[in-house]
């Protein structure tokens, strides 16, 4: 997959705070936004501080073609993401995108795909769910958080498929981790796609393996260039070290050397 990449000054159309500690940036452009695939990401330039020298890789949350918007859901964890959270409508944000390889959209129609997200890792699953639904597949979302306040955009997810929830404190949905949800026993899936903390993805991959289901994981290794040039973000695979930015961020679990 070799899609043309762009470096564009996008305009901030709106900044929303879906939950405390998170920010949703809705970005637009004078011209029609380029083609993007679910699971791909954007390298965002953060200006104004010498300690946010490098771009920040942020996954594509959603592409609103009607309003020509690209959505980025950002967990505010450090100086770079705080700077993003302080953006105002009308500001510009330089973005290099679309980067990397996305999730697999199966051939044919009617496939059941379980999309498992944890925390801000739910972000790319919204656009993936929409794409799967538009292709005639049946996405089911299994979203987990520590508490109810970690779960966002549920009304958007529900447009594209069934939404199942887990929280560690039991404040909403099934109490426990995503792997504790009864859906794993009750339903069969053709494919599992997951994004979130690595321990969660390892557990999801184990569960998928036990069920004999193919599984794709989305990684977020520290990276610099985002283009496959600097070789900083490597992940070990059965074919040696590969760049998460260019050869990922989505990998079939069988490519990786994770112990599952």
């Amino acid at each position: 997959m070799n899609m043309k990449k762009y470096a564009l000054d996008l305009i901030v159309a709106a900044v929303e705070t879906p939950r405390e500690g998170y920010v949703l940036l809705r970005l637009t452009h004078d011209e029609t936004l380029p083609e993007m695939l679910p699971g791909q990401f954007v390298e965002v330039q953060v200006r104004g501080s010498e300690t946010t020298f490098l771009r920040r890789p942020i996954s594509i949350n959603y592409v609103d073609r009607v309003n020509n918007e690209l959505w980025l859901l950002v967990h505010v964890v450090g100086e770079g993401t705080r700077a993003m959270a302080s953006l105002k409508a009308g500001d510009t944000l330089n973005c290099v995108f679309p980067l990397g390889n996305g999730f697999t959209v199966p051939a044919g129609t009617g496939k059941k795909v379980l999309l498992v997200g944890g925390g801000v890792g739910t972000a790319p699953l919204l656009y993936h769910g929409e794409t799967l639904r538009a292709a005639g597949h049946c996405p089911v979302f299994l979203l987990g958080g520590r508490t109810e306040a970690d779960l966002m955009q549920l009304e958007h997810f529900r447009r594209y498929g069934e939404v199942l929830l887990t929280t560690e404190d039991g404040s909403v949905g099934t109490k426990g981790f995503v792997t504790h949800h009864p859906v794993w026993e009750e339903q069969q899936f053709d494919l599992v796609a997951t994004c979130g903390p690595k321990p969660m993805m390892v557990a999801v991959a184990r569960m998928a393996k036990a069920k004999g289901t193919e599984c794709e994981v989305s990684l977020e290794n520290l990276m610099a260039c985002g283009l496959g040039a600097c070789l900083c973000c490597v992940e070990k695979t059965h074919e040696g070290n590969v760049c998460v930015c260019k050869d990922g961020p989505v990998f079939n679990i069988n490519q990786l050397t994770w112990q599952i």
Partner: protein, 303 residues
């Protein structure tokens, strides 16, 4: 429009702007953002005789005004470059250089000899300054004897323009420059990265898998500029300057310090189109200051 062309050894460049090895992939990664033919040249990633997996992850840590890396020369070997990559670069109207590294003088020479056979590669940059590999790399570049031994071996095997990339992690970089000039290097490029560290205090561990890494970015520019100035005074061969160049002003500083050409490295990660912007910026500055030729500012520092 001033004349921007410069010569490094037998290689002629349409302008003095090249890219630093390891920051520009094989060039093709940047083809969506710039016309590669607008560059004076670009230097593809460090290539060794045999494939190398490089160091373990994590290989990168952001720092104030820059970054540390300990990639460790991951590459698929010189034969992969010759067979798979070179055919994709052959038709370009710019200078494509290969950065060559190794563990022994013989390794370097054999790798260089295979690249000598490629008609579309007018020069190599010899990396005797990588801080991230155990054997070879910087070990050669920190003594005059080690640097001379590698250059001597390569000079016998390689007949085109030979640029030697110097390490800043030495007590007197001008001495090393003189040593490689004496063995027949056509040019020196400097600086490679400065060895550094970053610690995650919560984990009490280095942020880099091998403990240390090479520092690059605008934070190293003053050091790089000073070393370019010192080396340009010490040798009679052209100097290629690099280290933290982020814009045309930075590039012009290096030219005034005595560099005949410059390389842009880490800035490619911030703006993938920065190289052509620097070419245009140098040209605009020369026009605005009534300079007809870039040579009017090379080494023009007044003291």
């Amino acid at each position: 429009m001033a004349n921007l062309s410069v010569n490094i050894g037998a290689m002629s460049l349409k302008n003095p702007v090249m890219t630093a090895s390891g920051t520009f992939g094989y060039g093709l990664e940047f083809a969506d953002f710039i016309d590669l033919n607008e560059l004076g040249g670009f230097i593809v990633k460090g290539t060794t005789l045999n494939p190398r997996e490089g160091n373990d992850y994590p290989r990168m840590a952001e720092t104030a005004g820059g970054m540390l890396n300990c990639v460790g020369l991951q590459n698929k070997g010189v034969d992969y470059f010759c067979e798979k990559i070179y055919p994709q670069l052959e038709g370009l109207d710019t200078n494509v250089l290969v950065n060559v590294s190794g563990s022994t003088p013989e390794d370097y020479a054999e790798c260089a000899a295979r690249i000598d056979a490629l008609p579309g590669i007018p020069a190599i940059e010899l990396n005797i300054s990588c801080p991230n590999v155990k054997n070879g790399g910087m070990a050669f570049g920190v003594t005059c004897e080690g640097a001379a031994a590698v250059v001597k071996a390569v000079r016998q095997a390689y007949h085109k323009t030979l640029i030697v990339k110097l390490s800043p992690n030495v007590t007197n970089i001008a001495d090393i420059a003189r040593a490689v000039e004496a063995e027949g290097a056509d040019s020196v490029s400097l600086i490679n990265t400065l060895m550094g560290m970053s610690i995650d205090i919560e984990r009490r561990r280095s942020r880099l898998s091998i403990g240390t890494g090479g520092l690059s970015g605008p934070c190293v520019k003053p050091v790089a500029l000073r070393m370019v100035w010192q080396v340009a005074k010490a040798v009679n061969i052209p100097v290629v300057g690099l280290g933290g160049i982020m814009n045309a002003t930075d590039a012009i500083e290096f030219l005034m310090a005595g560099a005949t050409a410059i390389e842009i490295g880490t800035a490619n990660f911030i703006d993938p189109a920065i190289t052509v912007k620097v070419v245009r910026g140098i040209n605009e500055w020369l026009d605005a200051h009534g300079c007809k030729d870039v040579h009017e500012i090379i080494g023009a520092l007044e003291v």
